[in-house]
Each structure stands twice: as structure tokens, then as C-alpha cells.
Symmetry: C2
């Protein structure tokens, strides 16, 4: 598998997924195929950085570590949101970096930042390039240039402490490489977001990622116990202890900072024993509300599987149609996936407890076949999006989180906002995939017929959905982060004092403003 | 029970604890009684604030809400560290506030801050006054005065959401009042630090408190899902969701800020069902290291009781001697307390699991009697300190946290630093009372013969112990917070970039620097 993604599509071309016939049936009513120019024909903007500056950069980190060729620049242009893909498909790569720097050590990272400050060059830290909120499209006006700081060479597992059950990882490790390296020690991180195959350890930390096994392993920010960070004013090393009362926890200021406060050069994570057994099973509930109540009961009683997901009625119908090979007949209502990972005895005990709760709350056990099918396809949805875009369907995801008592209100408000904005025939699917004692996430997938110009069409729908989230008291993002796309709503969510706090942090560690300008901080 | 503590002693005089005869035997070798002047004879410094300023403050929040009498000032002078008590016992109340403001609403708090900014008055937020790290001894030079902002009137449970299992509490509620109000709804917060009887909800949040039931209920910062904060630049309201990726989690910047960034006016907490059953039992392990290994096994396997504590050999010996009524005979090695709270079935299941682990790792079950005795006396240790000070014994506690692989090294380093600094005959006791998957706390109690002037004697020992913590890679505080006493070591723990981040936050929300000046931020 390649580590680099096609500029116009998700992931590895070898894994592209044509639309299943059954899904074609759902979308054929309103689609037409679209032509996309070949990527080689898409013209890059001229690099706006001076050769003297690049020479100075090469002197710091080596000739081979600075790339200026078209392909290198193209591969690090924006992320993988639907607007990103639409722009790339229509030949717009205006956000391409002028050059790509690939530091080989934390000292190299510090040298790049010093160089950037000296010459007032904007720096965009780059991990897996999987961002879906515009976090890689930094502002370039007013800067002497814009470079992508690709952390791919910092890809090692540095150490393992099996007594404390921690490991030190470099930020450029992708999900599979980190898991493979830890597996050699019998360990796992247990972080499996949909972007797992391409996203990086540094990116997980910088964006407060949350994975599909969060019910069992927690969010990525729960896993981080230490950070090493290069900033323009010096190095920051945090992680004296699992938890403490030594002032505000500054680890939490770095987590979620999306490359605007510093570049993460090492992450110390809590690890666990590699699971001996993994079982995924499916359940059905009559309604989304009934299934959600069952999830709430599990979360508040502390009896959680490792994976816990619930699709609403529409998503259940569409997903089963797209998995016709495993049989969509006979399932009504809402599909839940419950997965258990761990030692055999622990898996059996938790499964028995959860089964009792789910059965008592109206759940019907559908067995393992559909659960294993979910696990097998858990990282593939973004490929399906490419096929939908190919077929002229506008498709995108967005997500939020709220407290349990507000779940139904937020669900209805976002769904209605999308349907109203995109008009008749719009499909809005939703699932809950992260639960807490006090609330849950809501993850929406929306599909509609593409307008002549799909970009403003989607941006209007996205704004309507985002307004609905903030107006109903929910967050603008549970795990997709802020980037540039969510900034106006972040400002509403945290208010002017919250914005002042972010700016205070920014001014303290990046007074020249070279780190990811225009991203995150309103 | 009174809410206000004696200026020279802990807690309610009605609960004062004379030294048990058995403990007298341990300390009689090196003590002599000390005379302490009656509190009424201790002269307060003249109030340094102008009458015109106080009149302006009264106009904002009401005549009755501004107190200037000696007793009110005396009761809000410093906290309850041993140096605080020594100073008060020797007649030094130099840190007394000029006046006490008692706002009756969040709007009042905002008005006090606006007044303080306008007139450049230093403001010390005051909850229960239980601080043991100098967090109430703000710097006054350069200010037109210094007032104590006592939140005692903000003492209500504002709302309960039984679906989301959250509650909104005002900051001035003390621990018992919060538990009593929640109990009327069948709920509990589950936060029981040693200061529980006097400390406040706002104080728990502002100092990242951690309670004796942290193995089951988590730290106080784990419980907070929302905050309302008055700052000099406006109100901050946080808590859109249980968790999110909307930038750095700013709740974590307020938690632990010790009144330097704002005054917390509401705290939304996660609550749980009131425990139907509570059982505390005692175990014995041959050595501290063996007991710690058992704790590590429990924490890393996710099989935790609600309360889990382990005393080292010395603390075990001293504690059993002081509990002679329940019989100290026949116990060797190290005493562990395991407590279970919850529904009967859950208590039984967890107890069975933990018992299996502890027995397999060398533990001897000592039954419930000593466990219940610990629970009955869990908040009483500070009273014993007063009696020790009366008897001429220097006694104080200090604490840290580290990763499991570093536990023994930190334990030995701190113990040795204290013994070396205080000399022959010094008793150093230690226990572990908070565990995590990756590490644990270490809580030390030290007793030594008082020197002629015990203050420099203790400050030298404290500095030596603090140096040992930082030099061995641990934190300067697990749950006592930073205040003024830990500032130099906080600066070493988080480094110059971390300090810059704290200053950046401070400058953003308190540009005039009126909030708790000199506290926390190096």
C-alpha cells in the first residue's frame, strides 16, 4: 500500500470501490457521470518562494529533504473533504505548497521553524493528508512563501515501557505502521478511525482524533500521556505523569491545536496488550431512539463493548442495500454493531453483560456475520465516495456531539437543515459511533444530486448544518477538527473569550504567525 | 458544622483530635509543647485599601456583601499548609486581605472583576480556604488593595439532567452540601478528597482536585463537562459536548488555573447513581513494592475497586499504632484499603474479581473492620496535624505522581531528600492513593522534631523534596496544585515554552493582572 493519496481521490487506487449495483439503484434517479481531468493535466500555480530561501532551507536539512517537483506539491495540496476533491477534480490546485520539506529529526523540524520565522514563510505541518476540514489550506498572503512540512521521515517507534504500558512514537508513523511496530511487542494502541490506513500519529494528536474502538480504548487524547513539540520559541516537553494538578494540563492545549502552536515531534501514548480475540456482532433495534437509549444505558452503567455503533433507519437501509452479498432481507429498523476485543475471558464476560442489557432493551441479536462484514469494510467508505462523485452524486460526511438529553433535537435539526438546503431526493444517513456517560456523537452522511456547480451547493448545505449544530447547543465537530471550514462556528461555540484564549496561546508560541496561518484560530 | 475554619487550625474545633497515647509514644522522644497566641491577640495588618474604593464596590454588589471586620479578614488569610499554620500560630497574618467581597450572583462576580480592573485591585478567589500550597497568598505590591472574593453565597444546585446524568453546581457549594443536594435526586458526584468537609466545588475545579474514590469515580477534572467563568474581558461558557475536536479543550485551560484566569461561577459535572452499598476492606502485602505491583495489575486490567490505597511499611506501622482501638497486632508489611461502592450486584462482582487478583499477587485479606475504620476516619488526618503541631512536632504532607516504571525511584529519592534535610529521627510515611493505567500518585507525610524556628527548617526540606521530584522526572503535584509554593518547580516541569503558554493565556483574559497575582504562573 502506498502512503500517499491521489490528489483527486481517497487512498490507494488499488482499493478503489466501484458502486455496488444495489446502491446504483438508489442513486440512479438523479445522477449523471462527471468528467475529471487527468491529474497530470491539472496546472499547478507557480511556486511563489524564492530560490535563495530554498537554498537556505536545503542548507539546514539537506538537499534531498526539500522537494519542489509538481507531483510532490500536488500530493500535499489540501486534504480529502468533498470540497477538496471537487476543487481538485475541476483542476483547481491553487492551494499547492511552494515546496515540501521532509525533516529527518526533531532538530530538523526546529531548524525549519527557525528558517520560517527568519524569512516569514508559512509552514503547514503534514501527516497523512487525510484532513476533511481544510486544515491543510493555510493562508499564504503576506508570506514569502508556503511550504508543506511533511513528517513522513519521522516514522519510528522510539521506545516501549512495558511496566508503565507506554510507548514513544514519532509523528509521521501511519496507523498501520504504528500498530505493526507495537504488535512486535505484543501491544496495541487501539486507535482505528476511518482514516487509519493513511493518517499519522502526529495528526491523530493534533486533531483530537477518535477511533471506531473508542468505547473500549477511548479517544486519542485519552491515550496521550506525553508530547514533544517544536515551536518557534523553543521546544516544549510535556508528560511528567499520567495526571497531575500542576496548573492547566498543557498537553490538552497541544492536542487539537492542528499545527498552529507547534509541530509535534514525539507522542508518548498509553498502550494495551494486543487483543487475543476480536468478535463483532450485529443487533437490530426498532427505532434509532430505542437503540440510542440502549447505548446510553450501556455507557452509564460502565458495561461497554470495544466498538459500539448504531445506524439510523435510513443508514441501515442503505448500508444493507450496499452489502447485498451478506443479505439485506429481513432486517428492519436500525442496525447496531457491537465489537469485543481482548482476552477470551474478558470478551466473553463483557459480551454476556452487554447482551443481557441489549436484549432487555428491545434489541434483536443478528449474529456475527454482519458484524464481521462491518469490520472487514470499516475503512472503505471514502472509496465509495469517490465512486459516487464519479457518478455525479454529491456525497459528504459531517459530525457533531451533544449530551444525551439533546440527542434527538440535534439529530432532527441537522437532518432538516441538510434536507432543506439540498432539496428533494436528498438522502441523510446518520450513526452514533462514540458514546460517553453524558452524551454521544452523531455522524451524518449526505447524498444529493450534484448541481451544475456542486461547490456552492455543498457549502450552503454545510453552513446550514453547522448553524443547526451550534444553534441546538452541540459542538461543531466531534472528531473531524476545525481546519478552515469550521472556524466561524468554532468562534460561536467558544465565544469571544475562548477565541482570545486561543490567540493568547498562539501569540505566546508563534509570535510571527508562521504556523498554519488561517487554520483553527478565528 | 461550621463552614469557616479557624485561622490557626484545621476545620471545626468541635472535631479536634487529641493525639492518641500510642502516637504520643512515637513522637515523645523529640517533642516539647508550643505556645500559640490566642487568635484574637494576633494583630492584623492595617487594611491598605481606600474607603472610596470600598464604597464603589458596595455600590456594585451591596453593603452587606463587603466585609472589613477583623474576623472576616482573619478567616480568609492564607490556607492550611503547615507553613500557613506556623505563621498564624506565631502571630503573622501579614497576608490578610483588606476586605472580603461576597458576590451573590455571577453578575456580581463580573462586577467585582470590572471594579478591580478599574481600580487595579488584586482579587483572590476564595472557596473553602483549604489550599495547602499558598494559593491564597497573592502578591499585593503594586496594587491599590487586595480583596478576598468569597464565593460562599453561590451555593446552589442549579439543575439536574437525569438523562445525560449531569448537574449544574454553583462554585461556593462545599463538598457535603453538594452531595446532600444531589442525594435528594438519588445522585452522587463521588468526589471525596481529604478536604471534602470544607472544600468547595469551584476550588475542586480550579485546582484539579482528586478524591479518595478516584479509582471508581475519576479525578474531578474527569467529572467536569461544562464551565461558566467570569473573566476581566468577559464571560466564558464552555461545554457543548462530553468531548470534541473543536480545537484545544479550553475546559482544561480553566481547570487547574487556580483563580488566575477567571472566577468559576458554575460547574456542570457528570453525576452517578447514589451507591446502594459501600464496603471497605483491608489487605496486607509483604512489601510496598509487592502491593504496588498488585495495584498496577488492577489498573492495567481495568478491574478497579472504587477506593484503592496502599501504605508503605512505615505508614502502616504508624497508622495501626494510632488506631489501637481496632488492634494493631499481627499485621506486618503494608496495609491496603480496597473500597467498593455501587449497586449490590456490581459491588459483589467487582469485589470477587479484585479479590482473585490480590490473592494471586500475595495479598492477605484482613476483612472489613480495618477498612471501615479507614472510611470512618478518612477526613480526620488534618486534625491530627494540629495536635502534633501543639506537641512541637513538625508535620506536613506532600505528593507527586509518576509512571509505574519510575515509582520506586521517585519514592526513594523523595524519602531520602526529606530524611537528609530534616535529620535523624525524621519519620517519612508514604501511600499510593490514586492509580492510572500508566502510573500512580505518591503521597508523603513527614514528621520531625521542630527546630527553634520551624519555618526555614520546613522550607528547606520541602525544597529538597521538590527538587527530588523534578530531578527524578515526576510532577511537582498530583492534586495539591501549585499556588505560590510550587511555582519554581512548575517552571522546571513545563519549561520556558510551557511558562510562555500560561502567560499567553493570562495576558489574553486578565491583561491588567488583577486575578490572584503571583499565584501559579511563574
Amino acid at each position: 500500500m502506498t502512503l500517499e493519496m491521489h490528489p483527486q481521490r481517497w487512498g490507494d487506487p488499488a482499493h478503489a470501490a466501484p458502486l455496488p449495483e444495489s446502491v446504483r439503484g438508489l442513486v440512479d434517479a438523479f445522477v449523471g457521470t462527471r468528467d475529471t481531468p487527468a491529474v497530470e493535466d491539472v496546472r499547478l500555480p507557480d511556486a511563489g518562494i524564492g530560490d535563495d530561501l530554498l537554498a537556505a532551507l536545503r542548507a539546514e536539512i539537506g538537499d534531498d529533504a526539500v522537494l519542489v517537483d509538481d507531483e510532490s506539491r500536488r500530493l500535499r495540496t489540501r486534504g480529502k473533504s468533498t470540497p477538496d476533491l471537487i476543487r481538485a477534480r475541476t483542476g483547481d490546485l491553487a492551494d499547492a505548497p511552494d515546496a515540501v520539506a521532509r525533516p529527518g529529526s526533531p532538530e530538523h523540524v526546529a531548524a525549519v521553524l527557525a528558517w520560517a520565522v527568519d524569512h516569514h514563510v508559512a509552514v503547514v505541518p503534514f501527516g497523512g493528508g487525510t484532513c476533511v476540514t481544510g486544515g491543510l489550506a493555510a493562508r499564504r498572503d503576506g508570506y514569502a512563501g508556503l511550504i508543506s512540512l511533511d513528517l513522513v521521515r519521522l516514522d519510528q517507534l522510539l521506545s516501549v515501557d512495558k511496566v508503565s504500558m507506554t510507548a514513544v512514537l514519532q509523528p509521521g508513523m501511519r496507523g498501520p505502521a504504528a500498530e505493526a511496530a507495537l504488535a512486535e511487542h505484543g501491544l496495541t494502541l487501539g486507535h482505528f478511525p476511518q482514516s487509519f490506513e493513511f493518517a499519522s500519529i502526529g495528526g491523530f494528536a493534533a486533531t483530537r482524533s477518535s477511533g471506531q474502538s473508542s468505547a473500549g480504548f477511548g479517544r486519542f487524547d485519552d491515550m496521550v500521556v506525553g508530547l514533544r513539540v517544536a515551536t518557534p520559541v523553543g521546544e516544549l516537553v510535556l508528560g511528567s505523569s499520567p495526571a497531575n494538578a500542576a496548573g492547566p494540563d498543557l498537553r490538552e492545549a497541544v492536542l487539537g491545536s492542528e499545527g498552529t502552536l507547534g509541530v509535534i515531534t514525539e507522542v508518548t501514548v498509553r498502550v494495551r496488550a494486543l487483543a487475543a480475540e476480536k468478535v463483532y456482532e450485529a443487533w437490530s433495534f426498532a427505532t434509532f431512539a430505542e437503540g440510542a437509549e440502549a447505548m446510553r444505558t450501556l455507557a452509564q452503567s460502565g458495561r461497554l463493548p470495544t466498538v459500539l455503533r448504531l445506524s439510523d433507519e435510513t443508514e441501515t437501509m442503505v448500508n444493507l442495500a450496499s452489502q447485498s452479498d451478506i443479505g439485506g432481507d429481513g432486517v428492519t429498523g436500525c442496525l447496531m454493531i457491537a465489537g469485543y476485543e481482548g482476552e477470551a475471558a474478558s470478551v466473553a464476560a463483557r459480551r454476556a453483560e452487554v447482551t443481557t442489557v441489549l436484549e432487555s432493551l428491545g434489541g434483536t441479536d443478528l449474529g456475527e456475520e454482519r458484524g464481521q462484514a462491518w469490520a472487514a469494510g470499516r475503512f472503505h467508505a471514502p472509496y465509495l465516495r469517490d465512486s459516487m462523485l464519479d457518478a455525479g452524486v454529491l456525497v459528504e460526511t459531517l459530525e457533531t456531539a451533544t449530551f444525551w438529553s439533546n440527542r434527538e433535537q440535534v439529530y432532527q435539526a441537522v437532518k432538516q437543515a441538510l434536507e432543506t438546503s439540498l432539496g428533494e431526493g436528498t438522502l441523510v444517513l446518520c450513526h452514533i459511533s462514540h458514546v460517553y456517560e453524558t452524551g454521544c456523537s452523531l455522524y451524518f452522511t449526505v447524498a444529493a444530486k450534484q448541481a451544475e456547480d456542486p461547490l456552492p451547493q455543498w457549502l450552503a448545505a454545510k453552513a446550514a448544518a453547522s448553524d443547526a449544530m451550534i444553534e441546538s447547543g452541540a459542538t461543531i465537530t466531534h472528531h473531524h477538527a476545525v481546519g478552515t471550514d469550521h472556524k466561524p462556528w468554532l468562534a460561536r461555540e467558544i465565544g469571544p473569550v475562548g477565541v482570545a484564549m486561543l490567540r493568547g496561546l498562539k501569540g505566546a508560541v508563534d509570535p510571527a504567525g508562521v504556523l498554519n496561518p488561517g487554520v483553527l484560530i478565528p
